[in-house]
Every structure is written in structure tokens, then in C-alpha cells.
């Protein structure tokens, strides 16, 4: 059953069209992440799903019921906010029971529900405290408790981790994921952090300028980005994209970076049937930084030896776990992920291995992936 269906949804404020015909179907039990840069409309979309904002057109269905005219409290949803939105004058316990109080749930039942949730989230010792006496992580937990206690059809998370410091964010990320696996809840989660999207989602909806650019599982989004925006938004460092020319020789299509230059790079494409119609034309080549490595690297699962090119090194950024190398391929800038102990000297040239199985080609006009 579709837990949430969004049909032809649009939203405009005066002259500004924030959402342009959104269609999404989210299955029960899915962890869907809406990801995109700020201003892409993801939070507006979430607020419309919650009923806190009204769409200009289109419908929202929750659990098979059109809820356009249903107030937030009757939509069978719970929401976790970026600022946690804990009621400052209430204790943790009161924060959690406030919703049940509004719905006139009997006291005994409230007690039981609070006890369950407090145990699940390990916040029992905090129940008597006020939000101001809690740390950021604890507040986050209480905010989740308030949502969990409702046991709704749909959980909505609005950038819940962006107020936490980096270490805590990683911890809470895992905790939310674990929680999802344990209770099998249906979650719609909004974030601008593509790492959160990749790590937690069962499906990702990448949004940009009020349009869903791609809606697919994380691997597909990463491996086959639907267009240049998705390619450049997902991944850190992002996918290298560069102008290139598609040519053909005896063994099939060849993508040429910096065609005509003395240092042009020629890469043979494997299984790119769709690309044949682009032979002789300009394309945009996308290559993930991890597909460019030090010259003696053997890529896992590769059938033959990798393509090795010698390229000038411009800058080296050691991160500890790996080294990011800025280099030029056929004159085009690119980033490579090499082993941490590999430190080619800037200004020199070094050999790099390319994993050509994972190249992406985009149409330079439409910016769409050439499938």
C-alpha cells in the first residue's frame, strides 16, 4: 500500500513557483529522503504533506485518503523539527504526552506509552527535566519520542540533525536508521546533506528548483544520476564533469577529453549502446573521484588492467582516510581519490588509473544522462 501519494502538486507564493508538479509515491515502510540545496522546495513539500501549508494545486494522499482538507492533527502523522520545537515550559514527560492530552487519551494509557517510548529511546532519566536542561542530542531524542509516541502512519523529519555537531550527527544518523529498521516506520526525511540521504534512505528524491530531479534508491542515484544537477549534488567530492567529444574507432565509441590537444585522454566505452547516436558530438563526461586512483590501483571486480594516464597534479588534499588530488585530464580539472599514503608532488605529473566501467555521459543541451 502506498503510505503517501503526491499527485501533480504545485505551490506558488505570489509570483514565485516553489513546487512545480511534484509526483511521488512512497510505499509503506520506506525511508524516503528528500534532498536538495536550500530553496529547492523540499521543506515546503514536507509542510504541505503535514498540512501546515496548503498546496496551490494537486493532491496529497496519506494511507489512501486524500487529506488536502484534513487538518494536521487528523492526518495520522508525526513530525520532528530542525529546532526540535520542544515546548520550553513543559517537562520532557509533558512534551511527550501533550499530543495525547489534546486527543483526550486516558491517563493510564499515556503513562504506558511514555514508558515504552522512553525505554526505546533511553530517555527515562530525563522525563522530569525541562528542555533547557538537556543537551542537543537529548533534545533530539525527546523530539523523536514525541513523534514515536503517536505511532503514526507517516513520520516527517525536517532537517532534524542539522543543529547537532558533526560527531553527534553521525551517531543520531545511525540511531534513526536503526530505529527505522526496528519499528519499520514509514519516514519522509528532509535534508540538504547528501551524505544523510545516501546513508539512511531506501529511496532518495533529489529536488532542485521545485522539481524532483530523480527518485530512486541511493545506489541508482549515485551510479546513474539522472542529470548533471544530481551528478554534481550527490557525492563528496562531487562527480567530476567535463566537456568531451564522442568519437568512434574500430572497437566502439571512445570519449575524448581535450580532443586535439597533445595530452588528450581517450577512454573506450563499454556497453554504451545509447551513446552511439552521439558519436561525433560534444557530450559532458561524468567520472566519480573514486574512479580516478593512483596508477598501480586495481579496481575491484575489473576484468582487465585499468586505463592508466599520466596527468599533471595541481594540488593535494590529504584527509587522513584518503588523499584528494586535483589534477587535469586533457586540460580539464578533475578530482581523484587516491590511497592516503600516495602524495604526488603538485606541479609534477603522475600516473593515474581510471575505472572506465563507471563513466556517465550527459547531453550538453538537456543535461540529461545518456542512458
Amino acid at each position: 500500500m502506498a503510505a503517501l501519494s503526491i499527485r501533480a502538486l504545485s505551490k506558488r507564493y505570489a509570483n514565485l513557483e516553489v513546487l512545480k508538479g511534484i509526483d511521488l509515491d512512497i510505499e509503506s515502510g520506506e525511508f524516503t529522503v528528500l534532498v536538495g540545496p536550500s530553496g529547492c522546495g523540499k521543506s515546503t513539500l514536507l509542510n504541505i504533506v503535514a498540512g501546515l501549508d496548503r498546496p496551490s494545486a494537486g493532491t496529497v494522499e496519506i494511507g489512501g485518503r486524500v487529506v488536502n482538507d484534513v487538518p494536521p492533527k487528523d492526518r495520522d502523522i508525526a513530525m520532528v523539527f530542525q529546532s526540535y520545537a520542544l515546548y520550553p515550559s513543559m517537562t520532557v514527560r509533558q512534551n511527550i504526552t501533550f499530543g495525547m492530552e489534546c486527543r483526550h487519551v486516558p491517563k493510564a494509557e499515556q503513562e504506558k506509552a511514555v514508558a515504552n517510548v522512553a525505554k526505546l529511546l533511553q530517555i527515562e532519566p530525563l522525563l522530569g527535566r525541562k528542555p533547557s536542561q538537556l543537551s542537543g542530542g537529548q533534545r533530539q531524542r525527546v523530539a523523536m519520542g514525541r513523534a514515536l509516541v503517536r505511532d503514526p502512519l507517516l513520520f516527517l523529519f525536517d532537517e532534524p540533525l542539522s543543529n547537532l555537531d558533526a560527531k553527534l550527527r553521525v551517531e543520531m544518523r545511525m540511531e534513526i536508521k536503526r530505529l527505522h529498521q526496528r519499528i519499520g516506520a514509514t519516514i519522509v526525511y528532509v535534508t540538504h546533506d547528501q551524505i544523510e540521504a545516501m546513508t539512511m534512505a531506501t529511496r532518495i528524491a533529489v529536488m532542485h528548483r521545485g522539481v524532483v530531479q530523480q527518485f530512486a534508491d541511493p545506489d541508482t542515484v549515485y551510479r546513474y544520476p539522472a542529470n548533471l544537477f544530481v551528478a554534481r549534488f550527490m557525492g563528496s567530492p562531487p562527480m567530476n564533469t567535463m566537456r568531451a567529444r564522442l568519437q568512434a574507432d574500430g572497437s566502439g565509441p571512445v570519449v575524448v577529453i581535450g580532443a586535439g590537444r597533445p595530452d588528450e585522454v581517450r577512454l573506450h566505452l563499454q556497453d554504451y549502446d545509447a551513446a552511439t547516436s552521439y558519436v561525433g558530438r560534444e557530450v559532458v563526461l561524468g567520472i566519480r573521484p573514486e574512479c580516478i586512483a593512483e596508477g598501480d590501483r586495481a579496481f575491484s571486480g575489473a576484468s582487465g588492467p585499468p586505463v592508466v594516464v599520466t596527468a599533471p597534479v595541481e594540488m593535494v588534499e590529504p584527509t587522513g582516510a584518503e588523499t584528494i588530488v586535483l589534477l587535469r585530464l586533457g586540460g580539464e580539472p578533475a578530482q581523484a581519490r587516491v590511497s592516503p599514503d600516495v602524495r604526488p608532488a603538485p606541479g609534477t605529473s603522475a600516473p593515474f588509473a581510471l575505472d572506465t566501467r563507471r563513466l556517465c555521459l550527459f547531453d550538453p543541451e538537456t543535461e540529461r544522462l545518456i542512458a
Binding site: N47, F81, S83, A85, G99, C102
Partner: protein, 285 residues
């Protein structure tokens, strides 16, 4: 080591400040001193002078013996009138202002900023301009020359300021709090009562002090819309000075002024620290 020498400019500043303070405090000093001088003493000497001996009887006379408008009960009944106007009007205008401020700051609705603008416009309308409309309203509602009429006027007029104060305090409350409560199933008044009001004491103290002081000290409406026994103390004080054409009773009058000023002074002394804090406070974190 702090520099303890005074630069000439600093001395000049202190001089100016002292002069301004003296000019400001002089009327108060005269009233305080006269309230403790016997009438004969003032009549023989001048309005300015130290009490020869402390005449506390002025206060007793002012409180419940002196004749105002042919009734010799001092200013006590008029103090009661003022209290009966000020206390309900303060509470009502503060509460309504809090609700109005909450509505315009945290609930977006069509025309909200217009409504807020019109309500606060009242701050800038001169009091005299409002006399005629109020006359018509009081006449048509039969509230002319009643304390209830004054309560109505002060409650409604007070809304401009109380709404402004509360709105400016509430805009700092995150919208997400309201959203969370709406999803939890709370409505307009439950959110106000359970979430917003418990956050409000700092601003409520400010508005209460402000309203109490202004309504208590208000003179124009009191003297225009009430007569005789219905007057608040500010209006009655004028009657007091007008009724003593033959022999000036400066001592008793001064004492009456002191008594009349006491409630607002007490309110400020009790709530003053909250007042300053509340005016400068951002809001809830």
C-alpha cells in the same frame, strides 16, 4: 590601575547631569516638603522651604477628611475609583493584548499585518482626537459617567500598546513550536494557554506596569467622562485645588498628590527590575 583623575570634560558632564537632575527633581522636592508643612507655615512663608515641624496630619486629612466637591471624605473614595478602573482595565488590556499579539505574530492569516498596523496606529492618535468618538460611544451605551465606561475606554485604548509589546516579544518564539503543537492537535487557545502564556511572564510584567501606570495617571478621560463621585483620583485632585479658592491648602494638596502617586510608584518598585529586563529581553531560548 584605574585612572582616578577627572578630565575637565568629565567634570563638565557631571555638572550638566547634576543640573538636569536637580531641575527634574525640584517639583517633586517641593511637593514632598510641602506635604509635611502646616498650611499656616506655607501661608506665612513661601511655597519653598523646609518644614519647621513635620505635619503628618496633612496626610490624614488628605486621605479621609478633606472636602472635595462638597463631600468631606478626603481622596479615599477617588483612590478606590481609580483602583476599580485601573485594575480591571490593566488585566483586560494585557490579556487581550497578549492574545492579539500572539495571533498576529505566530498565526499567519490574510491581512494579519494590516490588522496589526491598524491596532498599533492607536498609539499615534492624539488623545484629544478620540474624545468625541468616545463621547458618542459612551452616550449610546449608557456608560457615560460610570467607572465601567472608563474601564472600556482604557481596555480598548490600551490594546494598541499591549498588542505591540506582546507581538514584539512573541515574534522571537520559533514558528516550529506552533507547528509542532498543531500537529499534536492543539488549537489556537490551547497553544496560547499551555505553551505561549507560560513563556510570557517577562513581557506581561512590562505591559502590566505600563498599563497600570498609564491608566492610573490618566486624566483627560477621567475629567471628561465622569463627574462628582465617579471621578478617578487624578480628576478629583483638580477638584480639590479648585474647591479651595479662599485659603490655599497647599500642605493637604501636596499630601493628596503624594498619596495619589503612591500606587504607581509601588508597582514600579516591585516590578521595575522586570520592567527593564523585559523591555530589553529578546525572548525565549
Amino acid at each position: 590601575m584605574r585612572d582616578r583623575t577627572f578630565a575637565p570634560s568629565r567634570i563638565l558632564i557631571y555638572l550638566i547631569v547634576s543640573l538636569v537632575a536637580a531641575a527634574w527633581l525640584a517639583p517633586l522636592a517641593v511637593v514632598v516638603l510641602n506635604s509635611l508643612r502646616a498650611n499656616e507655615e506655607i501661608a506665612q512663608g513661601s511655597m519653598i522651604g523646609w518644614p519647621q515641624h513635620l505635619a503628618w496630619s496633612n496626610y490624614a486629612a488628605a486621605w479621609n477628611g478633606f472636602c472635595v466637591a462638597e463631600t468631606c471624605a478626603g481622596i479615599r473614595p477617588y483612590m478606590l475609583n481609580s483602583a476599580l478602573v485601573t485594575i480591571p482595565a490593566t488585566i483586560l488590556s494585557t490579556l487581550l493584548g497578549a492574545i492579539a499579539g500572539y495571533a498576529v505574530s505566530l498565526w499567519r492569516f490574510r491581512g494579519d499585518s494590516w490588522i496589526y498596523g491598524i491596532v498599533t496606529l492607536g498609539i499615534f492618535l492624539p488623545q484629544q482626537m478620540r474624545l468625541l468618538p468616545w463621547t458618542i460611544v459612551l452616550r449610546d451605551t449608557g456608560l457615560m459617567n460610570t467607572l465601567t465606561g472608563l474601564v472600556v475606554i482604557h481596555t480598548i485604548q490600551g490594546l494598541s500598546f499591549t498588542t505591540l509589546f506582546c507581538r514584539n516579544y512573541y515574534v522571537a518564539i520559533p514558528q516550529e513550536l506552533i507547528r509542532a503543537a498543531r500537529i499534536d492537535g492543539a488549537g489556537f487557545f490551547r497553544i496560547f494557554w499551555r505553551i505561549i502564556l507560560p513563556l510570557s511572564p517577562p513581557i506581561l510584567v512590562v505591559t502590566v506596569i505600563w498599563q497600570f501606570t498609564h491608566i492610573w495617571n490618566e486624566f483627560l478621560y477621567g475629567v471628561t467622562f465622569t463627574t462628582g463621585q465617579q471621578q478617578p483620583v487624578t480628576a478629583a485632585l483638580i477638584a480639590l485645588s479648585a474647591g479651595v479658592a479662599d485659603i490655599p491648602q497647599h500642605g493637604v494638596q501636596s499630601a493628596a498628590v503624594m498619596i495619589a502617586a503612591l500606587p504607581t510608584l509601588l508597582i514600579y518598585l516591585i516590578g521595575g527590575k522586570y520592567f527593564v529586563r523585559g523591555l530589553t529581553a529578546g525572548a525565549v531560548k
